[in-house]
């Protein structure tokens, strides 16, 4: 049979995410390519205990259908945490639970983008977002990402000239660069947005993971009604539960809710209840401090090894948080070649290429420092440095 697929399926970029997961499960390969948080920091016993109590005390309800917006006590927790941690006033009614924040990427695109609509994002920008948005066949406008956030002149020009439906950005420990917007850039972004018709889609997957433990003010705090803010428990609690959330003004959330209901009725209710119980009896701040400290050490180690083991011309970003850094290869080296030769040597990196909507990334590789310990990082960087030296 000749299947007649929708035109949007031809817009899907060749996916790296799936292939990379396969690589990341091969024990012979040290993978800096994936985006897994450290398994060591998943509190299996704590979650097991919360799960046991949910089954005992409210199992029948937890296993039944539930409302689309999500479990209210969990949304109340998220609301309280925004107030306590960031001084941000987001009522539970402006929060909706989703299947990990990846689902926000799909549904925000769904409610805003007609085919051919303009959408803006950082260059380089998160490949998961590029994959999700592409299926709605938009026209991408990318804005250079500098060490302290987007190039504001370029951002202003893109907003004025193309009036994108939304600008997607990651102010905290951006993916793939690992870099963070300065406060000045946050203010400048908010100023450009004010009075425009462009929504800022602020993806905050990594905001809890600053190595210095100091929270950064979200753009949403500076321009609330033109901001959609998404968050996730995947990086700080457990990705396998697929629980994230979105915060949006009521009018936007109503559309989002409609799209979410059509997409899958509601998110896993059992895990929403387990997570809510867990958060009610555990000190998330202390947990996050432990994770951030470990990731900070790993990041420092990786930066030092990049400086010490590699030939001149290799450079890298200096993240303040998150799980990734971006390294630039010495002149003449191609990221796909390093990727392929790396696999032969037992080390996986992620070429910068899929982070670009209009070409680029041939000289950069994204390196993950969250998923393994110092010894594996040392061994992997040693392998990678040999690959780079051999290719030069």
């Amino acid at each position: 049979m000749q299947y007649r697929f929708a035109g949007r399926m031809h817009c899907a970029p060749p996916s790296f995410l799936g292939k990379l997961f396969a690589v990341s499960t091969d024990p012979r390969i040290i993978s800096f390519a994936g985006g897994l948080p450290s398994s060591a920091f998943i509190d299996v016993d704590g979650l097991a205990d919360a799960s046991r109590r949910v089954f005992e005390e409210e199992g029948r309800e937890a296993l039944q259908y539930a409302t689309t917006d999500g479990y209210l006590p969990l949304r109340e927790f998220i609301s309280r945490r925004y107030r306590q941690r960031l001084g941000l006033d987001i009522p539970p009614g402006e929060i909706q639970v989703v299947n990990g924040s990846q689902q926000c990427l799909d549904l925000v695109a769904k409610i805003f983008l007609d085919r051919g609509d303009p959408v803006a994002m950082e260059r380089p920008g998160y490949l998961g977002a590029i994959e999700a948005f592409s299926l709605y066949e938009p026209v991408f406008h990318d804005v250079a990402f500098e060490a302290d956030g987007p190039d504001i002149d370029e951002f202003r020009r893109v907003v004025r000239e193309f009036s994108p439906k939304f600008f997607y950005g990651i102010p905290n420990s951006q993916n793939p660069s690992g870099q963070t917007y300065s406060y000045e850039k946050r203010k400048a972004v908010a100023e450009v947005l004010e009075g425009s018709d462009t929504v800022f889609y602020e993806d905050d997957a990594f905001g809890e993971l600053f190595f210095d433990g100091r929270p950064r003010k979200p753009v949403k705090a500076l321009a609330s009604d033109c901001c959609i803010l998404s968050g996730s428990f995947s990086k700080v609690i457990a990705p396998g539960m697929r629980i994230g959330w979105i915060c949006a003004p009521g009018e936007v959330l109503a559309q989002f809710n409609c799209a979410k209901q059509a997409a899958d009725l509601h998110s896993n209710f059992l895990c929403q209840k387990v997570l809510s119980r867990y958060l009610g009896t555990h000190d998330l701040d202390a947990h996050v401090r432990r994770i951030s400290a470990a990731y900070g050490q790993n990041c420092r180690l990786m930066c030092d090894l990049l400086d010490d083991l590699f030939p001149p011309g290799m450079s890298h970003t200096e993240p303040e948080g998150g799980m990734f850094l971006l390294a630039t290869l010495p002149k003449g080296l191609d990221s796909m070649t390093v990727f392929e030769e790396g696999l032969k040597e037992g080390v996986a990196v992620l070429p910068g290429i899929p982070f670009y909507v209009s070409g680029g990334g041939k000289s950069t590789i994204r390196l993950n420092f969250s998923s393994m310990d110092g010894e594996r990082i040392r061994e992997g960087m040693d392998r990678l440095s040999r690959v780079v030296r051999t290719l030069l």
Copy 2:
């Protein structure tokens, strides 16, 4: 701020599902309007035990990111069950796990439908499907649903004249009518499809729930490569876990996988493992027999009450399985009026209206018989009969 939503959002029909859930949680109202399976048949202790073992033996893995296609042992179970129960040979590689079969509705529409594309479905047809498909802005062609399946002449004409991308149907205990395709109609549907460019999207949410315990052969067994078949654990195990699946030929599943990855990376991995453990140690056949027998009794009771308590002119379908029947009101009565007056009397029904893509349903109401016991059914039907008599 003036938000500029996508055109598709204007295509969303006013949603009944969300409002109905709210009604269904009000204890003063006896609701025949929702679609909840009986909470009494959720094996909370069995699932608690499976969950405990997953946490103990493989908690760290279950809580980490996983592959998009779904947990292999669970897909192997689904494959084995198709072979044992239906003689259907579907390898695990042609099965993908989703967040309840509602997600199939969204993703099948996503991979097949460009704006304005023709899509066919039963008249009346499942409102959750109408909601999901509408967001892809197709042109609907509906085919009359008769007591034994679709009107084959009309189906043939629609396929020939409009060449729909797919025909969506529920051969087993159709939603909303509760009626089941005869074997002759299944063969006729398969014959029309053969040689056409139309895919059959066979939604089998209720196939396990025949009151006589006798499985019916899916259309997929008669026309494999033009069929997509979806299934769900929501009706037989627990809806709150949001675990369903889709079976499709490899070429279709590759596109589906791409769309699923962009939508939310993967389904809740913890619950996939819990479910897989549970199914490995429990007798699903015996469990399904108990549920089906109870639903069959409830259905018989409801049919008898419709015959005994209501004035002449009230008629109803005679389901062989599933969770719903469709009643036709006496001449002159309007389903929305019965809905609204019913709420005042403490009984909720679902008007037929949202099951039609081109008008209809003003004289029918869908009644759920799975979610409550005989006593509540008696009390609810008593209230409903008073509403109908008063209105006449």
